[in-house]
């Protein structure tokens, strides 16, 4: 009964321990596993110590080592190594202090001695393979159910780490998420510090020039502005970490709610303009890549460059002038729920993105087109259409998707100029409005929200790849 159970546990134990050994090579994971698994690891180490004393091979090895040293072999080896080193230094004109020379010689001598001991051991028929006693002991202990359960309870965080490490996709995601947390932390501290060292004082700006010193002091106390830098920074980080974005200085409104109100508007606009940009950009890019150096290629690339150089607020103004003021076809101000009012902002936001996508599609497709596997595909007689779409386009999509992901994140973060032209109450113009005071909690919270959105969009795209692209998949297998 017990033996079958031990056998059943042996396999996972081996997997766990081998993963643990791999994990030890990775700096942060090593430190974390040492902290989280200290109780289990200490017990294993103790058991190994107790066991190694009774190991006959180890005992024989130590015996031989002692014998060789007593015979004066070590001293002879050391002298030889020293002489060798001196000759070498002389030849290369290298200077070395005596102390250094001796240390170096000793190291060489010890290695040589070990070789000798090993040779002797092999003659005697003793197994000289170096096995980590620790690893074996760990496996043996884990195969026993009571210890397994015990260590699982005592150091479960370590086992979670091991579990993460076992699955490459999960590990990749967790790594990226951990990095994201640090970046967001950095963003909070950075933006807060910039606003903290600002010479302009929100208290005076809000209360006005005529405010009495008591009023100013009171304001500062209410918002914690009288505290030192570190304590204020810590408070800000703590607040945002607990998803409490705080209240703005002006109007005392809940910042979290204010941002949440702007979210659906921005999201809707982002999706429409992205769809537009993807459609136009991919179409233009593909055609110019297929017909490289044609009139269409030249014209469209010229137009793309122009589109990249147009300031989007100017494009917005010109569109308003032509389609709202002169003809009255479209409303010039964005209203929630009115699809007609969304056309112009979507086109304005989409133009730059479409241009970027078209350029990227063209260059990426041209790059893939000159690769060997496309030549192979053509050589085996595939039709032009199937080569273009199945082989070239699908392989060229990766940088395009990256770019589109970044652009999408970019619009989700709001674009203050376009929002101003069309009077959209988005996140971008919200930050601009708040920055004059400066309304520190509002600005910090919105900038953090925007950076988080963009980073998450990028992360999502990167994770999507790992499922789509076989090349990344194999690379991750060895992650």
């Amino acid at each position: 009964m017990t033996s079958t159970k031990a056998a059943a546990l042996n396999k996972p134990a081996v997997r766990i321990v081998s993963t643990y050994e791999r994990m030890k090579r990775n700096g942060i994971y090593r430190v974390l596993s040492l902290i989280f698994g200290c109780i289990t690891l200490v017990i294993v180490k103790l058991v190994q110590r107790a066991g190694s004393a009774s190991n006959p091979a180890q005992a024989r090895r130590e015996e031989l080592h002692k014998a060789f040293v007593e015979k004066g072999e070590l001293a002879a080896l050391k002298a030889e190594a020293e002489a060798h080193l001196r000759r070498k230094n002389q030849f290369f004109n290298k200077h070395m202090s005596d102390e250094e020379l001796r240390r170096e010689a000793e190291k060489t001598a010890l290695l040589a001695l070990e070789d000798k001991v090993n040779a002797q051991l092999e003659l005697e028929g003793v197994d000289t393979r170096k096995t980590s006693g620790f690893q074996d002991t760990f496996i043996a202990l884990l195969s026993k159910a009571p210890f397994f359960v015990f260590s699982l309870i005592v150091s479960f965080p370590m086992y979670i780490l091991v579990l993460i490490y076992m699955m490459p996709y999960l590990k990749y995601t967790v790594d990226r998420l951990a990095m994201l947390v640090f970046v967001v932390l950095g963003v909070i501290i950075l933006v807060f510090s910039i606003l903290f060292i600002s010479p302009s004082d929100p208290a005076l700006n809000i209360l006005g020039e005529k405010a009495t010193p008591e009023q100013v002091a009171n304001f500062r106390e209410v918002y914690g502005l009288d505290k030192p830098y570190l304590s204020q920074a810590f408070d800000t980080v703590k607040r945002i970490a607990t998803f409490d974005l705080g209240r703005s200085y002006v109007g005392n409104e809940n910042i979290g709610e204010a941002i949440a109100r702007k979210f659906p508007v921005t999201m809707q606009l982002a999706i429409v303009s992205m769809a537009l940009a993807l459609f136009v950009g991919l179409l233009v890019g593909i055609i110019s890549a297929i017909r490289q150096y044609s009139a269409f290629d030249y014209t469209s690339m010229f137009v793309v460059l122009v589109a990249l150089s147009i300031p989007n607020f100017w494009l917005g103004l010109v569109m308003v002038l032509n389609f709202s003021i002169k003809t009255g076809w479209l409303p010039s101000i964005y209203q929630v729920g009115n699809w007609q009012s969304m056309i112009m902002p979507a086109i304005v936001l989409g133009t730059g993105m479409a241009a970027g996508i078209a350029r990227m599609t063209r260059s990426s497709m041209l790059e893939v087109r000159s690769s060997d596997y496309v030549m192979t595909a053509k050589a085996k007689g595939l039709s032009e259409r199937s080569v273009t779409f199945r082989h070239i386009l699908s392989n060229a999509l990766i940088p395009i998707i990256t770019m589109a992901g970044m652009q999408f994140g970019g619009i989700m973060g709001g674009s203050p100029t376009t929002e101003k032209v069309f009077s959209i109450s988005g996140i971008g113009i919200y930050i601009v409005d708040k920055e004059f005071l400066p309304d520190v909690p509002a600005v910090v919270a919105s900038v953090v929200y925007v950076s988080l959105t963009i980073s998450l969009a990028n992360l999502l795209v990167d994770i999507l790849y790992t499922f789509v692209d076989p090349r990344i998949k194999t690379r991750l297998k060895n992650y």
Binding site: F182, V183, V184, G186, V187, L190, V191, I194, L195, I197, S198, P199, S200, L305, V306, L308, S309, I310, P311, F313, W314, L317, V318, V320, L321, N322, I325, K326, T327, G410, G413, S415, P416, T417, K420, V421, G428, I431, V432, E435, F436, P438, V443, V447, V450, S451, I454, S455
Partner: protein, 502 residues
């Protein structure tokens, strides 16, 4: 007669040997394009009205294009039959050189290269140098129609005319005394005056001086000069050179405007001339304070260029240094620097700029700082990647194997080889910095609003979009022009500096 595929290709090879022919083709193409743009915008599709001025300009452009087409056809026939462009055809280039007075500077470029009969890079530079100063003079000359001519106007115009005459002399000498292979040592006298005239902002003169200097003081005639090779490759790309011409033109006009333009017209209120439509006295009209929009745009070029260039130069040095450190020292230093910069990179550029401006108040210095800060990670990443790839390449290993010391490897191999992508990126980033500057000014948090800057002019114009649209349209066109110029020039520079293109 049907020409075979082979014949066609042979013709192409023959024609490609003639820079004049290529210049002329591109000039004609550009002229036709501009002509059509004028024609299209001359007709208001919504109001169904025709603007006579625009149609006239467009028609004029198309007429000049027709003339160019006829000359082009003649030249083509002569090249294909006799192998050279005939004397009469070359003389037909003379009228073309005066097209600049009809605002068509493309024609002048094509005409001059036809008349000059030289293919060397020096002559190409001369053409653009001449055209640039001529354009500055013509644009400045518009001030004659102002009710009050600027105080130093005639002094400035006189100086410019002197410089232009000197350039003509230089061009004639270049045509007479140089060709592809040889250069007359007597041309040395031109070098210093050429460098001095660069003070007018005409950097073509500087490039020409450097090129001539390199050839005059060349020791071994067999070795090709890298600088000249790069210039040659750059000048093969017509759009890139036009981009360079626009950038240098804006630089020149922002320098020359100290003399030939009146700053007061662009900042002081003039209640007698509120909201005037475009006319000869006020080419782009006047704004809500009676200020001349044209002068404001000319003075805005100065600010845009200065802000754009400093806001790229600072991160180029700082970010480059950080990136080089990270790339060179790897491991811990690399990790620390890059993770800190990741934080800066995570915040969208415009929001980081807004946060910095929020902290230190809206002023030009803050704006430069804000744009610089968010460009630091851009350059750091680029330099790091380049240094990493260069320092792992075979030729560095070879240099090390030959016994080169670290300083020699860094200064002779790593830096020169990492420079090209950085220069190209910097050129493209200047355009983006100009865009950001005007965006921030449009939001009211960039350059203080009384200073004539393109974003500010646009912001003022956007309030009067209904009645006086020209106030918002022209500064926008100026922004597009400068950004487009930097984009074209940057793209051309990338091709010219790419060692694979050799």
């Amino acid at each position: 007669m049907k020409t075979s595929e082979y014949q066609k290709r042979m013709n192409k090879v023959k024609l490609s040997g003639f820079v004049e022919y290529k210049n002329l083709t591109f000039s004609m193409g550009a002229t036709i394009m501009v002509g059509f743009i004028f024609l299209i915008f001359g007709y208001d599709f919504i109001a169904k009205t025709v603007s006579l001025g625009m149609i006239a300009v467009g028609g004029l452009y198309l007429l000049t294009a027709l003339y160019m087409y006829l000359v082009l056809r003649r030249a083509r026939r002569e090249i294909l039959t006799t192998g050279d462009i005939g004397e009469t055809t070359r003389r037909m280039g003379w009228p073309m050189t005066f097209f600049i007075f009809l605002t068509n500077f493309f024609g002048t470029i094509g005409g001059l290269s036809l008349v000059g009969r030289k293919k060397c890079i020096e002559f190409q530079l001369c053409i653009f140098m001449l055209v640039n100063t001529m354009m500055v003079m013509l644009v400045s000359a518009l001030n004659i129609f102002k009710p009050q001519i600027p105080r130093n106007f005639w002094l400035g115009m006189g100086l410019l005319a002197l410089v232009e005459v000197f350039y003509i002399v230089v061009t004639v000498m270049v045509v007479k005394y140089t060709d592809e292979k040889n250069i007359d040592p007597r041309l040395k006298v031109l070098l210093i005056p050429l460098v001095i005239t660069t003070l007018t902002g005409n950097f073509f003169a500087l490039i020409l001086a450097v090129t001539m200097f390199k050839r005059l003081y060349q020791k071994n005639k067999e070795i090709s000069i890298e600088w000249i090779e790069i210039m040659r490759r750059l000048f093969r790309n017509y759009m890139a050179v036009i981009g360079l011409l626009v950038v240098i033109f804006l630089l020149s006009i922002s320098i020359c405007s100290y003399l030939t333009f009146d700053y007061a017209v662009s900042v002081e209120n003039n209640y007698e001339a509120l909201f005037q439509s475009p006319s000869l006295a006020y080419p782009f009209g006047t704004d809500n304070f009676g200020r001349c929009v044209f002068s404001r745009i000319v003075f805005g070029a100065r600010i845009s260029l200065v802000v754009g260039m400093t806001a790229i130069a600072i991160p180029l040095v700082l970010g480059g240094l950080l990136g080089a450190l990270a790339g060179y020292y790897a491991k811990v230093v690399d990790n620390v620097i890059m993770r800190v910069l990741d934080v800066f990179y995570a915040i969208p550029s415009i929001l980081l700029a807004i946060a910095i401006i929020a902290a230190f108040g809206a002023s030009t210095a803050t704006l430069v700082m804000a744009i610089s800060v968010y460009n630091i990670p851009v350059f750091a990443r680029l330099v790091r990647a380049t240094v990493l790839s260069v320092s792992h390449s075979e030729y560095i290993e070879a240099a090390r194997a030959c016994g080169a010391t670290n300083p020699i490897i860094i200064f002779k191999h790593i830096i020169p080889n990492s420079l090209a992508p950085v220069i190209v990126r910097a050129t493209l980033e200047i355009g983006i910095a100009v865009l950001s500057t005007s965006s921030l000014s449009y939001l009211g948090i960039g350059i203080p609003s009384h200073i004539p800057e393109w974003g500010n002019i646009l912001r003022a114009g956007s309030s009067y979009l209904e009645g006086y649209p020209y106030m918002a349209i022209f500064p926008g066109l100026a922004i597009i022009l400068i950004v487009l110029a930097f984009n074209f020039f940057g793209d051309g520079l990338r091709d010219a500096l790419d060692p694979k293109m050799k």
